[in-house]
Symmetry: C2
Subunit: 240 residues, 2 copies
């Protein structure tokens, strides 16, 4: 049995009951070391297989091998395992393994965690776009940014900026500026649910790209989104 | 204090630790009666204020009045309170109430719950579109459907079909068909996490609209999505 578990953005508070139970029911925990460190209290006495960034395929293959031995394995992802997480890889690797049962355990993804901290920015139609071009051609990302902005979606950017891709966020804003007004509210949350959590709100034209890194969620409002104090709110449309 | 709580799609499994704690810490629970019924085990001995559908504004105003009396109030939404839920209304109603503290408690939204049941359909960029035109002009919905399909997003449809709006889903598929191939996988989950939960996968051209109602989540794949058995998988792009 393989549980593919979304542990939420970081704190125990945002984990689901099932995520905690599934970790407790597992013999072996497999994950990226940063995420393993977030769940230590639930995995005492468990065998742990951890490795570094960009080793997702190895990690998932190891989990499948362990499951073949009849053990219960928990593969953990931050946020939700089905959103840019490990659920897809595990299912792709087990399509021919009929003896291995896989259960995806849902979690709170980063956009939802960040939205709760910012107020209510994703109350209306929204989309997720990852700015990482490691697995997706940059032209596809550009096209999605342009069309999402034209559609007036609230836009949540995952993997917005890393050392190796410091210009992606800047480029993304240039593309969206064709349709997103300079006064459009933007909400930024770093390290959602973790000790160093930090948030700030600004507008599309006053955005400071330097404050964004890989563990930051960037949420760009739609035409109705407004800022009140340090809150970012996208009305659903009620006439109050 | 007002907690605006997302209780997840329905089962206790998919509730977060914080959602359960916040209900326990509240004096009064306010919500739509169907959702109140899903959390009875956590709200024994609590005062409950429940009412029917489409009475969201009344419900939220009542919660604000109760909070003014110094009580802790939990306003509950299914899924996540910040996604087509009550978080926006409560924050809009309290912008002038500086004495009332509001905390949004995030939850697992229906698309994430449905995705875990279907396999891994939202592993890549996706969007949420509500087909309800009660609060949003239908032209805006049409525009978003067309642009989202052109952008090759995985598309999650909320409020896909009700008795009063039985043709919306059909119309939505017609609009998306300009860009979504007939063989595109579609996943449908009814009553996620509840007793009557039911799922099926089909393709864009074999979609049976009659099987969809208001408590159904419809997820339309992107160009890479595939069906394996009863699983729906959207690859992230790893070369395995």
């Amino acid at each position: 049995m393989i549980y593919v578990i979304g542990i939420g953005p970081g704190s125990k508070d945002m984990m689901t009951v099932e995520a905690i139970e599934a970790m407790k029911n597992s013999d072996v925990i497999v994950g990226y070391k940063t995420y393993i460190n977030l769940v230590t209290e639930f995995i005492k006495d468990k065998e742990v297989v951890q490795n570094g960034m960009r080793q997702e395929i190895d990690r998932c293959k190891q989990a499948v091998e362990i499951a073949k031995q009849g053990k219960n394995v928990a593969v953990i992802s931050s946020g939700d395992a089905g959103i840019y997480g490990m659920a897809g890889l595990i299912l792709e690797l087990t399509t021919q393994e009929e003896d291995i049962k896989v259960k995806v355990v849902p979690g709170v993804t980063a956009s939802i965690g960040a939205a709760a901290i910012l107020g209510a920015p994703i109350m209306h139609d929204f989309c997720h776009i990852s700015l990482s071009d490691l697995l997706t051609p940059w032209e596809v990302i550009e096209k999605r940014l342009r069309l999402a902005a034209e559609a007036d979606f609230v836009i949540c950017l995952y993997n917005p900026r890393s050392k190796g891709r410091s210009e992606h966020l800047n480029k993304a804003f240039k593309i969206m500026s064709e349709f997103k007004d300079g006064k459009t509210p933007v909400g930024i949350v770093k390290d959602v649910g973790r000790e160093k959590e930090e948030k700030f709100v600004c507008t599309f034209e006053t955005m400071d790209f330097e404050r964004v890194d890989m563990t930051t969620m960037v949420i760009i409002g739609n035409k109705s989104t407004f800022i009140h104090g340090d809150l970012m709110i996208t009305p659903r449309g009620y006439n109050i």
